[in-house]
């Protein structure tokens, strides 16, 4: 949830630290973080494809 929120707002210092620590022990969450970035890229690419067509 915090990872998702980091796409909407800047996390506070404590939140950032908590996320970093959690990512160290949660491989799935690191994958999730990368995938969130990818989703954003994909949605925008899709939109721009539509525009071009």
């Amino acid at each position: 949830m915090l990872l998702s929120q980091s796409q909407e707002r800047a996390l506070g210092r404590v939140e950032r630290l908590a996320v970093m620590l959690h990512l160290l022990i949660c491989k799935g969450c690191s994958n999730f973080r990368g995938q969130l970035k990818f989703l954003r890229t994909a949605v925008r690419r899709h939109r721009d494809r539509d525009d071009a067509g």
Partner: protein
């Protein structure tokens, strides 16, 4: 089409846009490109259509039917039922025609209200404040909805595309 999820409505919006363009052609100074100008009108018309739809829907059903889908992804203690897998180099998929078919299929899985809000954020790139005002929801509300939208899209892509790719590599 992806934004409204209804071909008839998409056609109506395009028609409204063209009508507005014809009526307002005097205002088109030629300072911006024709495409930018038309896209600008189109965006307004899409927003209008979404507003109309929101009003109609809030009268009929206010249901959030994605809660169950998302809850099933997590154990009771909040940990992933099945943790997100490594997708390797997902950017490659962007060059693949088939990927976009899967992507569109997956985008349609979200419940309407969720999809609409996800679209305002990711396609129209509206800010938290703008969307909250538009949809009359709180920021926390909005973040939960967006988070669920991403979880649904992510899981679908993993199952339908990235999982499938992995199996192909193994063979």
């Amino acid at each position: 089409m992806l934004q409204l999820r209804n071909p008839d409505q998409a056609e109506d919006v395009v028609q409204e846009t063209l009508l507005a363009a014809i009526e307002g052609r005097a205002r088109f100074a030629g300072g911006s490109s024709l495409k930018t100008w038309l896209t600008g009108i189109l965006k307004h018309k899409i927003l209008d259509a979404i507003r109309r739809k929101s009003r109609e829907q809030s009268l009929s059903t206010a249901g959030d039917d994605e809660t169950g889908t998302v809850d099933a992804m997590f154990k009771q203690d909040g940990h992933w039922q099945e943790a997100p897998a490594t997708w390797g180099d997902p950017e490659q998929a962007l060059e693949n025609r088939k990927f976009w078919e899967v992507f569109e299929l997956c985008s349609r899985l979200m419940p309407e209200r969720t999809a609409r809000i996800f679209m305002l954020r990711e396609v129209m790139e509206m800010t938290t404040e703008e969307i909250c005002q538009e949809c009359a929801i709180t920021p926390t509300n909005l973040w939960v909805i967006l988070h669920r939208a991403r979880l649904i899209l992510r899981e679908c892509l993993e199952i339908k595309w990235f999982g499938h790719k992995k199996n192909e590599h193994r063979r």
